[in-house]
């Protein structure tokens, strides 16, 4: 309960800060919280918004699905073999630290303008952190778990599926939380630069028209979605740890 109260306090403080910033800077670059909220509500009710939202959500869901399956799969395969892990990890990390936006022209050349590019760009952002966390999770498992699986007469795959993967699950899930946020960023970025539909496209259009009302309203919606999803995932994360720190 105290954590819920703390969260509420943080949100109230942020809104107060926002209002203060508005008073300091003025209409030139900002809108006050209440106006933004009204604009966001109007935007949601406006014609065509649902289609844009559905487009973004579909791209995001597919990108996230690909990122989770490929990321966990890749991390797991590398984590099960010491040699593959040692070769693979530096590659993963260097790819992770690469600004993915530099790859966007290539992604566009391969997938064309539209849905496939957004999905690919979102997935590229999500795969690496998920793979790195999965690999790290498996590598950090105490060796006694592997020995215990052998003592319980499990074969390699039974051991991987029923012991190692569940043991690594809390840490893999932390990677999934990070992958979730980065996939969302990637999908929106993909929409901003080469798309005719979606929330990212709306945002880019508003920037082009210098429509501060819409920019602020869209940003508020994206932030609200990201925070809600992230808090839900954090709650699942805590449950997975069964009272362990």
């Amino acid at each position: 309960m105290t954590s819920a109260r703390n969260n509420l306090l943080v949100i109230l403080a942020l809104i107060a800060l926002w209002q203060l910033a508005y008073w300091a800077i003025g209409d030139l670059a900002l809108r006050p919280p209440l106006d933004t909220l009204c604009k966001a509500a109007a935007l949601i009710a406006s014609e065509g918004f649902t289609a844009h939202l559905a487009e973004t959500m579909r791209a995001f869901a597919l990108a996230l699905g690909i990122a989770v399956v490929v990321g966990v799969g890749l991390g797991f395969c590398l984590g099960m073999s010491r040699l593959a892990g040692e070769v693979g990890e530096p590659l993963l990390v260097s790819f992770y630290s690469l600004p993915k936006i530099t790859l966007y022209p290539i992604v566009l050349l391969i997938f064309g303008i539209g849905m496939p590019s957004k999905i690919a760009f979102g997935a590229i952002h999500g795969i690496m952190p998920i793979a790195i966390f999965t690999l790290g999770a498996l590598r950090n498992l105490p060796p006694v778990l592997g020995r215990t699986s052998r003592a319980l007469r499990l074969n390699r795959w039974q051991s991987a599926w029923t012991v190692l993967l569940p043991a690594a699950r809390p840490e893999i899930f932390t990677g999934l939380r990070l992958g979730f946020s980065l996939t969302l960023i990637g999908t929106l970025l993909g929409e901003m630069f080469a798309s005719q539909r979606g929330i990212g496209f709306l945002l880019m259009q508003a920037i082009g028209l210098h429509d501060t009302d819409v920019i602020m309203a869209l940003t508020l919606l994206i932030v609200a979605f990201a925070i809600t999803a992230s808090m839900a995932l954090l709650a699942v994360d805590k449950r997975l740890r069964h009272g362990a720190a």
Binding site: P142, V144, L145, R147, T148, A151, L152, V163, H242, G243
Partner: protein, 272 residues
């Protein structure tokens, strides 16, 4: 060095067992042996030795977790291949090996569920084992909510529920405080009496070995060999009160006399 035993009475048989790590003659390590040793069916055998003498290597070979380089190791007359742990062998490690994502009851049920036992039989056996190990009130708890001693009980219960005929314990109480060790030792004796299983206990604590075992094997510094076999005079109904028996002091003194030089030598190996 061994008393002559008939084949049926020999539960674990080791003949000229050695273990060498590495193949390069300059860097390879003679970790163990040669060891000749018979464990009798139903006996409680403890192995003590200086640190790094190959106790855990011996443990792995007897468990079937790793192969001997030379010699033969048999369990109930069948050779141990070092790749699979035979049915009938239960293993408890020093480290906490409880499964954090399962409740205590599911931890205990894990092995027998995998073996395909029916749900009713699994429940009956798990209930019995939880009661026996004093874990009944914690059946729905997760390991993270338990103390180290209780978690080790969970691991012992998970092994015990499979009804092993040979129970191998590698310093199972090494991470516990002294009082908990004594209590766990008594529980181990009770478990041994009631299951009739053969027990092999690897330990570095001489008093633990002297109190719990029928026979204590003393190992030399690396490469570990059995340099002394000490029989204890306690009856089957012994408990931790044997520490007050004057013969207890004599036995630990003898163990220490044998071990002292070996421990010195082990220390200088490390320094060198």
């Amino acid at each position: 060095m061994n008393v002559a035993a008939t084949d049926a009475a020999v539960h674990i048989g080791l003949r000229g067992v050695t273990r060498i790590f590495g193949t390069d003659p300059r860097t390879r390590v003679n970790a163990l042996g040669p060891i000749d040793l018979d464990l009798r069916r139903g006996e409680f055998f403890a192995v003590v030795g200086p640190s790094g003498c190959g106790k855990s290597t011996l443990f792995d070979i007897v468990a079937g977790l790793s192969p001997a380089t030379d010699g033969t190791a048999t369990f109930e007359g069948r050779p141990l291949d070092g790749r699979t742990v035979p049915e009938g062998v239960g293993v408890v490690f020093q480290e906490d090996a409880s499964f954090a994502w399962l409740t205590v009851a599911d931890n205990v049920a894990f092995g027998i569920r995998r073996a395909g036992l029916g749900a009713a039989e699994v429940k009956r056996r798990v209930d019995d084992t939880l009661a026996f190990m004093g874990l009944r009130d914690f059946a729905a708890a997760y390991p993270a909510q338990l103390s180290g001693g209780m978690r080790q009980r969970v691991c012992i219960a998970r092994t015990l529920v499979q009804r092993p005929r040979l129970i191998l314990l590698d310093e199972p109480f090494g991470a516990l405080d002294q009082q908990t060790r004594l209590i766990m030792g008594e529980e181990l004796l009770k478990l041994w009496r009631e299951t009739g299983a053969t027990v092999l206990l690897i330990t570095h604590a001489l008093d633990e070995a002297a109190m719990l075992a029928d026979r204590v094997g003393v190992m030399s510094a690396r490469p570990g060999r059995i340099i002394d076999l000490v029989e204890t005079p306690w009856g089957k109904d012994r408990d931790s009160r044997v520490v007050a028996d004057p013969r207890f002091g004599e036995i630990t003194a003898r163990l220490w006399t044998r071990l002292r030089d070996e421990s010195m030598s082990a220390l200088s190996q490390k320094a060198g």
